[in-house]
Symmetry: D2
Subunit: 341 residues, 4 copies
């Protein structure tokens, strides 16, 4: 059976396991105060060309989103997000459990745009009763999005401009950051992202690590009390070095981007095959997630040989499914899948 359900189905890139084994007997202080974390923080600052950044390592995406949003918002504020954003849909209400409303605005293939943010803010601050309402306090977006789509530098820059106009920090959920950077046609780099937004994270869990998200506060002031907030959210790993070691490994020789390019390249090969064989793409995604429309018969046939993710049932009875590639996807597996199409 071939597996394409998601990008977190295997363990970690072997280089990470090797490094964990190599350092296993070192004795270090806990909670991210060790030398590996310090070095990983330096590497993050370096690849982002943001020497003043404050960097923290957390375990998973939902806890990272909830902790960052808590750090950025006053309790009377909420987070603007695409209505398809992860925080708006698949985090079991973690943001609301922290007391904050998700202010959902419409999306286009998972993306929000500058005009959408501006019109929400203009409407809000123009409403004479806005003190009775939840004020937008941060703009949240995912890069790449939950739909596998990406923002261009111009698009992100325009959103960042609106954010500055309204004094809203811009926060980018980078759970799949690598696949966005490595996407076909992407013109954004980590330094661009660091320059345009206030907080973002470089996702490890879905890009070759066992787990881990590297949070980058490009404006150090925003990181005030973040350590204690992590502790309060249960997001402070005792053996914090495990995060430092993983990000050291991912960032020191470009491994992070290599992994992402590998996965994206195979996804592009698969996408080309879908097109060539006449399949309908549900979304034109340049990243490691490919969304394709299958009729029942084809779905049944492919299911005998491969696993993939359910995405959406269409009204005509057909189904959108997702094929995800990852660091561990082998070219042979892609070829085999293509052979089945």
């Amino acid at each position: 059976m071939l597996h394409f359900d998601s990008d977190y189905m295997a363990g970690a890139h072997p280089a990470i396991l090797e490094k964990l084994a190599e350092t296993n007997f070192e004795q270090t202080p806990g909670y991210g105060t060790d030398a590996h974390c310090e070095r990983a923080r330096e590497l993050v600052r370096s690849v982002c060309e943001c020497p003043e950044a404050e960097v923290f390592f957390l375990v998973g995406g939902t806890q990272t989103n909830a902790t960052i949003i808590d750090a950025l918002l006053h309790r009377t504020q909420g987070a603007i997000s695409a209505d398809t954003g992860h925080i708006a849909t698949h985090e079991a209400g973690a943001i609301e459990a922290g007391g904050h409303k998700v202010l959902a605005i419409p999306h286009t293939l998972g993306k929000i745009d500058a005009e959408g943010v501006r019109s929400y803010c203009a409407w809000f601050f123009g409403d004479a009763n806005h003190e009775h309402m939840v004020e937008p306090g941060v703009v949240y977006l995912s890069y790449p999005t939950e739909y596998g789509t990406i923002y261009t530098k111009d698009e992100l820059g325009a959103i960042a401009s609106v954010c500055r106009e309204y004094h809203l920090p811009l926060f980018i959920d980078g759970a799949r950051m690598g696949y966005g950077l490595a996407a076909e046609g992407a013109d954004l780099t980590l330094p661009d992202i660091a320059r345009l937004c206030d907080v973002f994270y470089i996702g490890g869990t879905k890009v070759g690590a066992l787990f881990g998200e590297a949070v980058v506060f490009t404006k150090p002031d925003l990181a005030n009390r973040f350590f204690t907030l992590m502790k309060q959210h249960g997001a402070l790993l005792a053996k914090g070095r495990l995060l430092g070691i993983q990000f050291e490994t991912l960032l020191e020789n470009g491994l992070y981007l290599d992994i992402a390019h590998h996965a994206v390249n195979l996804a592009m090969k698969l996408k080309a095959a879908f097109i060539e064989k006449g399949y309908e793409l549900a979304i034109d995604s340049p990243t490691n997630q490919q969304f394709v429309v299958l009729d029942d018969q084809t779905k049944a046939r492919l299911s005998e040989h491969a696993t993939f993710g359910f995405w959406e049932a269409l009204d005509d009875g057909r189904t959108v499914v997702r094929f995800a590639t990852s660091w561990d996807t082998r070219e042979e597996a892609i070829d085999e899948l293509i052979g089945l199409l």
Copy 2:
């Protein structure tokens, strides 16, 4: 330099790293729904002799405490705890962030007792205004305690009886469970604990794992909605198998208790040396944590060769410090330390 700061200074027991490497390329579904987690759950039920238990794996102690307490309490209820309990002191207000008051009662060397719980409950329910107050909704205790002390079977049984009388679930924080089970003079076993309490966890982070806590609901009804609550708390690991694999390794051949016995045996050797050399023990601990009183001169001298934890400054100018052993403590290191005393 010798290191005795804590029991989470090194990586994981080598058997765990081996198993992670061995399974690295397996592709499994996420969030704890894989076969490793299933097998680890079966092992937990088996070692606890509690076939009906619901078992979940979380990453760290604070998140585990906060999630369990949220699961057990109505929002008008609080958690009875020793005023030295971890939830009452060193979790940055995670319980309160979830909306619940910690109802602190006095401790004796980190322990509460049946009489303390009973008198709190009798006082509370006897107060005509108790509907204006936070009702006790769970009793929390640590085994072993933050002071390295343990409960006897009789003591725990008496607390459990009071809990039943007042219809309060009993929750045991087992972040260091192994060291309690392996403690000198301990008469409690996992099946005893499973029989006496309603929820507890078998701590991995401090007993040989990279991270991980195995939560055991001995009354399955109490686990209602726990999966979603984990997600909401950011406590649901995407690659959940990492937890399953670690607990499989720890539990399948008694490794968990072996690790604990190793650490406790070395701690007992160190303790005997402290006594023999005339040091004053701050606490008579039968577990892997040893607390000793040092004058400034001795503290300075030992600090040149070993690290250890600050515990408390005494009024007479002396200091209580903590020496912790772990899976990776070598007998040679203990001997070397003893030589320095």
Copy 3:
């Protein structure tokens, strides 16, 4: 100047002030345990024909909504509401501050319908990943709605059926309940409402009282711990008798409905005049709130003589404004306003 901004611009119906003066020197216990509250509770049960109801008195709408929703929901659940519902828009995130997501569904003139609730629930429970999402735990609607519209008995019955099918309690925000019951063409009575829903409240603040909302749990079990929850929400009035006295006065001789009919009748007279004089109604409202479209010139002209509420700016530059009548609206004022149209 004539005032039609809202239905809470004056004090209380004189009968209430008289009763407050009359009882002023009585000495009673606090927090709603007095004889006036007890009698008011009996009156509520009687007018609702629901002898088993549990009745509580709170001060204002937002605190009532937040406290009830907290009482009904598990912390992993949210409240289905029209996206125009008061809890979704104008309560400054009070529901989210309590940890719960508002699950907004589309409205038609402020109303939800059975099909909308059913399709949300069917979608939710049909989604294989719903344990990662916020489960609907209550259906919230306003009667009359924020748009002045009302539900028919059939419509409410259909929604109640869907709620039962999905085991969701139905909660009706009755901040303006009186005006709904007295609305032109209304076929719902308090006994109907009590029979169809699980919790609702009879709003006093906007229907003649100084303040106060009478909460009715038609299923007593749902009221478990509600007293303490009120206290925790800061919603327990020390001199609780003030609420009892007001609802006694409103309910003992039909004053509540008399007030509502008075306001609705004047609103209908105004509405007829709008129509007759060729004004465009923005909403065809049968209640005390009338929504009409004004061009700038007319708006400016009327503003010289009357106050009214801003509702919405239309794309064509015209404005929707709201005229509200109340217990203290005089027929002469309506006639004067009509003369100005």
Copy 4:
């Protein structure tokens, strides 16, 4: 039967009811934006000699405490309070429901002192692990305390000094403020209090109003977003003028202090009688609350003629009870009670 259970057993001082009746037909905007509130705010600033103060009116004590503490604290911070403080005991966990820990320190007859605050802060900030703990973010005290005792100007000044040293705002719960200002031997005035603390409130509910607490932020910056926070807490009264009217009445001709002096004078007469007749005072209170120790026989005898509050059961079987006077206590009632002693 004579009633001395509490100071909120009757309605309001007649001048308040008169003013409510007199203004009943005025039409005003809601939520505290009316002219009565504006005038009341001016009166508050004037009697406090604090022209820059931001003033808000809330309905009751618990909601006021919870909203203010939310406004002052970061979510990682808690409130230092006497362990007998109202927020620590009788508010059903309202502070914790807002996410904040109450950091209880020992009291002496309900009072904290500068040394207690200082030693807590010194201990906290001196602890190397304090980033894992809840940081003190405000000091809360009641004036007068729950035990009827008062602070001297020197005592309050000393606490204020420690607060400034540690950059902690000082917040005074003045639910019974009047009785403290009017207490026998009191040397604190409202201007003193305004000068020494950062936020406090002038309680109306227990000092002659129907309800209402006037919150004074002496440092306007601390009031940032307080209006929206009130709304979120359900603490924003729709007909806000009711609060404005009551505080206008209480403050314009010294009525507030007159009421307090009346009650305190009668309490002092009662206290003198207790002493003269050989009763044991449980607390030497200079305010309107008197605490006396009764044996069972005396308690039974007095209960036939008067109501009073249960306070505490002593180990010797005797009971501490509370007699409270109020604006409506008649001298004849006190004389009658004295005759029964």
